[in-house]
Every structure is written in C-alpha cells, then in structure tokens.
C-alpha cells in the first residue's frame, strides 16, 4: 500500500546521540507518534481474551445478601455460591466436605466449582467464616487459582471488620475493604466475570 508523504517524518538524529540514529523516513504508524485518535482506528478489532470462569463465595449471611443482589445480572461465566451458616467448618475440613450452595439453594461441590476456575472472590462482612475462607483459599493455592477478598464494611470501624480483614489477609492475593456493596458488581464487571 502506498504511503502518503504527509504520514512520514524524518526523525531528528541530533536528539538521538548514541541511540541508533534513524536516518530514513519513517511511517507514522512505525513510531511513537502513532498514538493519535486517527491511528487508533487502525487497531485490530477482535476479542483479545477468552471467557473467564469466576467463582464468588459469600462467607456469611450478610455477604450473601449483598451477593444475591447481583446474581441475576448478565455475567459471563460466574457462579455465585454461599457457605452454609453455622456449618462448623474447621481449617481441617476437606475441600470436598465444605457445605456450599447455589443461589437457588441447591448444594454445590467446591471441587467441581473450582475446576477450571480463573479467579475466586471471597465476600465477607464479619469474619465468622475464617475456617471456610482458609479451606477455599488453600484449595485455590493448590490449583494455582488467584483468590481475591472483599471485606464489606458494615458501619464504623470495628473489631469485627479487623477480624474479617485478618481472616482473609492470609489467603488472598488482593484484599479490598469496601464501604458499600456496589463495589461487588463494579469489581466483577471490571474483571469480566
């Protein structure tokens, strides 16, 4: 394809001492000058990523309520799961024994849910499910799945929040302390859940 002469410029050799002088005309799209709105239209239009598989676990009742508010949104390949309240999970609980369910109440299997998962997000408000967080995170670590935590604030700073943050810190690659539940869909959208 012929190049419009206007699209060419001569680099200033004087400004490139010792840096491999450019001594020939250069196309606009062959240099840093191409960072224009006009050149942006030549960017190759295609989907540059495959669908991600996300698993979101609410670790307590209040977190589950926040999560249920967004489960009906049009997510790509996200599953929303709840750890049963009062489920007596301990850090030694086997991953296959952790009691979790889908939003419709149907029981789910952690092993099945984590198979092929790209990211796991733990939601918590009170730190009561530290053991469940550990079991899920440990399984993520084993399978090399990134685990993120969102601590949802409920009211002013409290020991409760410190507990939930501490409970998730050990297990997550990134931990967010969010003041409002709106952050859940914002983050999931940003991560293409």
């Amino acid at each position: 394809m012929p190049h419009d002469h206007d699209d060419m410029f001569e680099a200033d050799n004087a400004t490139r001492p010792g840096r491999g002088p450019v001594d020939h005309p250069t196309m606009l799209s062959s240099c840093a000058r191409a960072a224009t709105a006009e050149e942006a239209r030549f960017r190759v239009p295609y989907p540059n990523s495959l669908s991600r598989t996300s698993r979101i676990f609410a670790l307590d009742q209040s977190a589950a309520e926040a999560m249920y508010a967004v489960t009906e949104d049009p997510w790509d390949n996200a599953h929303f799961l709840t750890v049963f309240a009062n489920s007596h999970v301990t850090p030694d609980t086997a991953s296959g024994d952790i009691p979790i369910s889908h939003p419709n109440g149907a029981a789910a299997s952690l092993d099945v849910e984590l198979t092929g998962a790209d990211i796991v997000v733990l939601l918590a408000t009170d730190g009561s499910s530290e053991a469940a967080a550990e079991v899920i995170a440990r399984e993520c670590f084993k399978r090399k799945i990134t685990c993120a935590g969102i601590a949802l604030k409920r009211g002013p700073p409290s020991d409760k929040m410190e507990k939930v943050v501490n409970s998730m810190r050990k297990f997550t690659r990134v931990l967010v302390v969010a003041q409002d539940d709106d952050y859940i869909p914002a983050m999931l959208t940003a991560l293409r859940a």
Binding site: F9, A11, D12, T15, R16, G18, R19, G20, V22, C31, A32, R33, A35, T36, A37, E39, A40, R43, N48, S49, I119, T146, A148, K153, P157, E162, V165, N166, R169, K170, T172, R173, V174, L175, V176, V177, A178, Q179, D182, Y183, A186, M187, T189, A190, L191, R192
Partner: protein, 429 residues
Amino acid sequence: MLRKEINELLTETDAGKPMGDMFRQYWIPALLASELPEDDCPPTRVKLLGERLIAFRDSKGRYGLMDEFCAHRGVSLWFGRNEEEGLRCPYHGWKYDYTGQCIEVPSEPEESGFCEKIKLKGYPLIKVGDILWTHMGDKENRPPEPIWEFATVPAEQTYSSKRWQECNWLQAMEGGIDSSHVSFLHSGGLKTDPLFRGAKGNKYNENDKKPVFEVVESDGGLHIGARRNAEDGHYYWRVTPWIMPSFTMVPPRGDHPMHGHFWIPIDDHNCWAWSFDYHPTRALSPEERKAMQDGYGVHNQYEAPGSFRPRQNKDNDYLMDREAQKRGDSYSGIWGIAMQDASLQESMGPIVDRTKENLVSTDNGIIMARHRLRKAVVALRDKGVQPPGRTPEHQLVRSAARVLPPEQPFGDVMKEDLTAHPGVKQTSV
C-alpha cells in the same frame, strides 16, 4: 474492563461534562508561580479543563486567570500589554483587570460606562507554595484553600515541576495508583536514581516481585497498600494515598524526600502531570534539588527552556535506548521514572479504550478508584453532593512505608503515619 459510557463519563472534562463539573469543585494546580515571576511580567497562556485561558500578574502583584480572548474582536490577550493594573489588548486598547472585568474601552466615552458591561470569564488564582491554584467552579461552592503538605512546608523543603503529557488525565492518574508496575518498569531506577537509591526498603522490592495488595477506602479516596515479605515473617508495607480526584503520593524510601503527583486535564487528550518532592522536616540538599532539576526521580528534562514538553517525547520515540534495555539499566529502555510512565501511558492513545482491557485482581486499586470517581460524579450531577477531597482533613495525608508483624492491618497501625503532621518526619524504610 469499563463500559464505554462510563469511560466517557470519567474521561471527558470540558465544561458541562459531569467529570468536568467535578474537577471544577476543587482548587487545582494551574501554573508554577515561577511562570509569573514579577509584577507586570508577560502574561502566559494556560489551557485547563478544555478552556483556553490567560494568566497574568498585575502591577500590585494580584494574579488573574481569565478567558484568553478579548471580548471585542477575539484577539488573544497573550499579545497584550500588562501595565498599570490591567492587561490591555494591543489591537484597540481594551483593558481588563485581574478578575476579567473590562476597565477601559478607549473608543467609547468614559462616562458611557460601556466597559462595565464587558467582563471576561475569570477565575481566582492564588499562590500556595510554589504553585498558583485556581478554582473553576461556582463561587458559592468554593472549597477552603488547599493545604497539601508539599505546598505548605517552607520553600527550602519543597520542589515542584510540571510536564505536558499527551494523553487523557485518567490513564495518567491510574499509573500513579498502579503499584504493581514498579517492580518491572521502574526496577532499574531503584538502583541508580539518586532520589531513590540506597534505601533499605529497596531490597524488599527487589526480593519480592509479587506484592500482595490491600485496597482500603478512606474518607478522601483510597489507601493502597502493597505488601512484600520482610524478615522473620514480617511484612514490608508501602502505602499509597489517592485523594479524589487526582492526587497521589509515592511511598517514601529511606530519608529521601517524599514525592507525588497531581494529574490535571488540559483537554480530553492532554493533561498536566504535576510532580512534587518535599521533606517534612529538613531543607532539600543542593544535590537533591539539582537532581530534581536535572529530571531525576519523578521529574523530567524539557525539550527547550520555557517549554513544559519533555525532552523525551513521541517525536523522538522517547529516546528509546535498546542497548540500555538489554543491559538491564532500564527495564523499558526509556530514561527516567517520569518518562518511563509517560511513554507507555501515551502509547495507549489519547483516551485508552477500556472496553478492551483485561484487568486482573491486582488492579483493584484502579477498579476502586474508578468506582469512587463514578459514584462521586453521579452524586454531584444528580444530587449536587460535593465530592470528597476538597477539605483540609482529606488533604492532610502522606504516603508511608513500614515493616509490620503479619497480623497487623496497615489501616489501623499506620493511621498516624498516613496523616501529615507538620514538623514530624515521614515513616519510611
């Protein structure tokens, strides 16, 4: 990923645009005070938030910032005569005071009062530190004057610079809260830059290239903590404050001066990257000040004296040095921390298409910042709620670095470290 309409909401800052209205709720840096060095000095053009303005300092030392163009025939007042308490258009002699009020129309009888009917749009321009600040919003919503620590310490303790960055403000600002790029893009600078090298904390950076992040909402914005492994199971924390809409500070290293940035829109495709260095308790040494003037640390070199365009720019491929890249002197081959950031951010295009990005969990600082900006913009637009970051209590912040036991959340333990206390040394490693 960010939806197209939200990307537009956050990146468009002309008057009447929601994000533009939000920026107009703050005092923002407009010029270096050194750009108007004396009374009746030449005026200077400045474009902010999509508005072409002229700044001048009148015979009594009052600063004016107003519409660049004469109300008569549209001549640029940059050609004007700055004399006798006003800026006079050289075409037909119309004269304006520092508020933009026309005070003389030579062709009209003085008694007619005609000039009183002519007023250029004007904004307040005040000097705090070595920066001139403006508030481009409604007078009734004017916030208290800015009290950022870097601007209020004695002059010998602080240094500011600005550079023209050829991209939208948001992608530049997002670089300031994206702590995970430091271990890669800036890795060479930690060893060689005179304003960074030698700190004990640098070792932790070098030894642990996979930091773990904690993002905590604060009243004024965010605290973004990056955690790396230290000795005896302890953690080395580097905490970056972000105050809305576009103030960030880099966590300190040793006793080096602390530094940070403002990103202020020029228009939707350009922004001012303001960079500052200061030490809370001592004067900058001559060597430190010279290093800043020479473009080290967060500062840069310029294309020409009086120009705020960096010497390394898109017209010369940022003086990319592939040999230095190969040797490992510079991870990207670009010299200097500031231009390492700017070159990559400008390469994204004037406004990056965020519908195509693939963020990962360690990008949560960016995700949360966008979330908070969006909420604040919508609250201002729909309910008139003033955004965070305008008040002194939100501005009295610092970055900090510290080694902590594993069970201690930085948000609690480092609360005082992250607050600016005049005369108190920074918390640093």
